[in-house]
């Protein structure tokens, strides 16, 4: 097991981030773009290697484990490992980041800073998905915050400072709660290692021993809030629209594509397995929160006039499915939630790229000022329609499979509440079609007709959009391919949780 492939995987982006800084000043613009692209490619390759490494690993538990003592005083270990769930999300991260690095091709404002922050962010994200020591997990979680603050803050839109500080404060407040919970666990049980804690929970039927149910629920809430801010679910979602509207296109892609999945991953890896009983008792509240996220965000999206804000709210709505699926504690629910993470992880970057393409040309995102773009830019129109219908949940595309599986799963545990969620499908259809019609159909105002300013989608942009479309289609028609990666481990985790939570 001595392979240190995992360390390599997250070191490549960090090394790239430093390398970019050393690029000579005058050719800064062109050179660091390429460094960024090559590093992202290398990272993607590394994740593929991790995938094959993982598939060759037989026997339960985590693959490619690297475990070394790090800080003896606090029994913190440099403990990395992957299972099906992490591999799937690692692949998603590197794939979306590859698209992101391509999309950040013409960043003029101090490119060296931008690309080094970009790669630092990538390193942080990859680290989060493979850390098995809770302290290391927290470390990566925070490392990722800093570059995101600068990326939104410096290269963002007009109100970027406000959006950046809001993003930073929200996530920091959440992670501070998580830190308290992590330290409490360490105090009571003396370990930061996730596998050990899960084993403890399995052995004693819950952390903190008998009679500490109140503390267990408090800790679960701490974890849940920290991750719900990231997901984001209903009460904590207000940072997302601002962050998205102000972030530059490639960063919105990564923000939507990967950062939101960390919340879900955290719930799957830590919140539910650590406190199954608390999860069961709070099940109904979580479902209600998810329902509000789905339906509320869909309605708010309908009233938006800024294209990007609309897509942001639709992300909130779709991510509501993740918490809904997880709360149902059924095989379909869990698999559906994970599938929604992967599906949304490919569809939303595509949508943000589409918004980015038109923003780069028109320099505004006001829905009412667009019209008939499908005729002015045909291929762009087709791709946009594809993205919109994928996000709408049209069958033969990945969105549909995820929604249906989550519905089937959550119906078994919360029949009446799930019916409320189906309303979301109609509202989503409504606002997306209204947008499609406002922006792409109808008559084309003169300004969008001249080819000079509004050329059709360029080869580079195609290189970003088409792979995402292909994956969405593949995941829609043959879902078992993607699902087989994480199904085994995810259901193993679910069995563990259900055994203790006492759910039928």
């Amino acid at each position: 097991m001595g392979s240190n492939l995992l360390t390599l995987t997250f070191l490549i982006p960090l090394a790239g981030s430093l390398l970019v800084l050393l690029v000579p000043k005058e050719s800064a613009g062109r050179a660091c773009r390429w460094v960024n692209l090559l590093t992202s490619l290398a990272t993607f390759g590394a994740t593929l290697a991790v995938w094959s490494g993982w598939s060759k690993h037989t026997g339960g538990g985590y693959a490619l484990v690297e475990d070394a003592a790090w800080i003896k005083a606090f029994s913190i270990r440099y403990h990395l490992g992957v299972d099906g769930v992490s591999v799937a999300l690692l692949l998603l991260t590197s794939f979306v980041s590859l698209g992101g690095s391509l999309a950040s091709w013409n960043i003029e404002k101090s490119p060296k800073g931008y690309h080094s922050m970009f790669l630092l962010l990538l390193g942080g994200m990859i680290g989060v998905f493979m850390a098995l020591d809770m302290f290391l997990f927290y470390l990566f979680w925070e490392i990722m915050l800093l570059p995101m603050y600068f990326l939104i803050g410096i290269w963002g839109g007009p109100r970027r400072q406000y959006a950046a500080i809001k993003f930073f404060l929200y996530t920091l407040a959440g992670s501070v709660l998580m830190l308290a919970a992590i330290v409490l666990i360490w105090i009571k049980h003396g370990t930061f290692q996730i596998p050990e804690i899960v084993a403890l929970v399995k052995a004693h039927g819950g952390l903190f021993g008998e009679g500490a149910e109140g503390l267990r629920i408090a800790c679960f809430i701490a974890f849940f809030v920290a991750f719900a801010i990231k997901v984001p679910s209903f009460p904590f979602h207000t940072w997302l629209p601002d962050a998205h509207v102000e972030a530059p296109t490639p960063i919105s892609m990564i923000l939507a594509g990967v950062l939101l999945k960390m919340g879900g991953y955290g719930l799957i890896r830590m919140a539910y397995p650590f406190f199954p009983t608390a999860a069961a008792t709070l099940g109904t509240t979580i479902v209600v929160i998810s329902l509000i996220s789905i339906v509320y965000a869909a309605f708010v999206a309908m009233a938006q006039t800024d294209f990007k804000k609309l897509v942001a709210y639709s992300s909130v709505s779709h991510m509501g499915f993740v918490t809904l699926g997880l709360a149902s504690l059924t095989p379909e629910g869990h698999n559906g939630a994970m599938y929604m993470m992967l599906a949304h992880g490919t569809i939303s970057p595509m949508l943000f790229m589409i918004v980015g393409v038109i923003y780069e040309r028109a320099h505004h995102r006001d829905l009412d000022r667009f019209g008939g773009l499908a005729w002015a830019m045909p291929t762009y129109g087709v791709l946009a329609a594809f993205g919109i219908f994928a996000s709408l949940g049209l069958p033969a595309l990945s969105g549909f499979i995820a929604e249906i599986t989550v519905f089937l799963g959550s119906f078994q545990s919360f029949p009446r509440l799930t019916l409320v969620a189906t309303v979301g499908m109609v509202v989503t259809a409504a606002y997306y079609l209204i947008t499609l019609q406002k922006v792409y159909l109808g008559d084309t105002p003169a300004v969008y007709r001249d080819k000079a300013h509004y050329p059709d989608v360029s080869r580079r942009e195609l290189l970003v959009l088409v792979p995402l479309a292909i994956v969405t289609l593949w995941m829609g028609i043959l879902p078992d391919g993607a699902m087989s990666i994480y199904r085994g481990d995810l259901e193993g985790i679910l069995e563990g949780v259900k055994a203790i939570a006492g759910k039928p």
Partner: protein, 494 residues
């Protein structure tokens, strides 16, 4: 450890004072760089002695001359204050204020360090009071050093008047304690407290009054009002010296006094989430003060427009966190306090150094003067950002470790709500620590702004301070273990 051995640091420093004064007189105005050299060597010598004490085990923690307890804690604090003094002197050469101070400046700094090292070791009320006052009056003069500057004068006046009144309260409190203990030594006081003196109402009154004095010294609420005005009026290096050295000495003195007063540590330890352990009045006062100080520091800082005032409120907030450790009062918490003090030293000195450099370069200490610094001098801006984030407690930086160790010790005692308030306070602090970042990076650079040049000396000093802030993470456990060794010598509760 002979009496003379114990007094070695004070002797060296006093010799330094005399040497500086004579050199200044001899040089008659032609102020060579001799003066900083003399004071520098004196301080380095003292630091060396302290390190020798720590390395060797000859400390034997005996009480010397009836007033000084030479244990590891004293050695650490002496080393701490010597280093702080040295850095402050170097910072003055580099920062704002007159960069070629006269002999008096060096003399006063050395006297202050004498006071601090004695305060850290004092186990007798009289010595404690004297050392406390020595540190204060040197502070008053250092703040008022720039005689021509209206603001400096105003700051000095407020500082001296507020300080005098607070120490007046303290002396009155000490007099009452003297009555209870029947003797001036803290040992006698401890004996009295153990034999039930703490149940007397006058004891509580005395505790509150004594705490008033120490609250002034460590700028804890409600005696923190002087700090923002003084830090803004004083030269930045002096402000840095006050915020680190005199505060650390204040904490050391407070530990000694609480060691005596809080003989029974917070006995009533409900298992979890008991917010105010009314076990002993000392713990209650400290806990309330901690929460008050943290909140005041963080809330007020959010509205600041001036960099030095912001750093003042930030140091008040950090005093609040340190008071938390005192309120919890367990061996674990004490080692966490020492650990936090070390992290606080590096962070705060670096922050005030950078503030000094910026004020010197741009002439004004308002946060807006940082405009576009990120592009005008990337390395300085990057270092300043790292320090700011470390003060907030963002991981891989040093500040996070300090907070982690601190909150771990608080949580271990089951004070969950106390820890949560602290953590949330930390989160709020991001808002004002990010203000400078915003000015430096997020607002782009005005074309005409001149690039800010960093003097080589300042660069070296900055590097020395910032390096541990970032790299400390790698060898974190040695410091944690070492901090743990310091505590047993304090002989708490035995």
């Amino acid at each position: 450890m002979t009496a003379l051995g114990a007094l070695l640091p004070s002797i060296l420093l006093t010799a330094g004072v005399l040497a500086v004064l004579f050199a200044d007189a001899a040089a008659k105005g032609r102020r060579p760089l001799l003066l900083p050299w003399i004071s520098g060597t004196a301080l380095v010598a003292v630091a060396a002695v302290a390190v020798a004490w720590l390395a060797g085990d000859r400390l034997g923690d005996r009480v010397v001359l009836g007033a000084l307890r030479m244990d590891a804690f004293t050695a650490v604090l002496t080393l701490f204050c010597a280093v702080a003094g040295l850095v402050s002197i170097l910072a003055t050469l580099v920062g704002d204020g007159n960069s070629r101070p006269g002999g008096e400046f060096h003399a006063l700094v050395l006297c202050a360090v004498v006071g601090m090292s004695v305060l850290a070791a004092a186990v007798d009320m009289v010595t404690l009071y004297l050392a406390f006052e020595l540190v204060s009056i040197t502070g008053y003069v250092l703040v008022g050093m720039r005689r021509a500057d209206r603001l400096a004068n105003e700051a000095a006046m407020k500082y001296v008047l507020f300080g005098a009144v607070s120490s007046g309260l303290m002396v009155y409190g000490l007099s009452l304690l003297f009555g209870l203990a029947g003797g001036t030594s803290l040992e006698a006081l401890r004996a009295a407290v153990v034999s039930g003196a703490s149940s007397q109402p006058v004891f509580v009154a005395a505790v509150v009054l004594v705490f008033a004095g120490f609250a002034f010294k460590v700028s804890a609420a409600p005696f923190h009002f002087w700090a923002p005005d003084v830090y803004q009026g004083a030269p930045t290096a002096v402000a840095g010296f006050l915020s680190v050295a005199s505060k650390a000495a204040g904490f050391a003195g407070l530990v000694r006094v609480v060691l005596a007063l809080g003989a029974q540590p917070a006995t009533a330890k409900e298992p979890i989430a008991s917010f105010l352990p009314w076990g002993s009045p000392v713990a209650a006062v400290l806990a309330v003060a901690a929460v008050l100080t943290m909140t005041v520091g963080n809330l007020a800082a959010c509205r600041q427009k001036d960099l030095k005032r912001l750093l003042a409120y930030s140091s008040i907030a950090h005093a609040g966190y340190m008071l938390m450790a005192l309120a919890v009062w367990t061996p674990n918490a004490m080692s966490a306090l020492v650990f936090y003090l070390v992290t606080y030293l590096f962070m705060n000195l670096a922050a005030f150094l950078f503030a000094g450099i910026v004020v010197r370069a741009t002439g004004s200490s308002s946060i807006d003067s940082l405009h576009g610094l990120g592009f005008r001098n990337p390395w300085l801006a990057a270092a300043f950002t790292l320090v700011m984030l470390s003060l907030t407690g963002i991981p891989p930086m040093l500040g996070f470790l300090g907070k982690l160790v601190l909150f771990e010790s608080v949580l271990r005692e089951g004070w969950v709500w106390f820890a949560v308030i602290g953590l949330l306070n930390g989160a709020i602090s991001l808002y004002y620590y990010a203000l400078p970042l915003r000015r430096m990076y997020l607002e782009g650079v005005a074309e005409g702004a001149p690039p800010v040049r960093l003097a080589p000396g300042a660069a070296v000093l900055a590097a020395v301070l910032v390096l541990p802030v970032v790299a400390f993470f790698l060898w974190w456990s040695p410091l944690a273990d070492w901090a743990r060794t310091v505590v047993p010598s304090l002989r708490i509760g035995s």
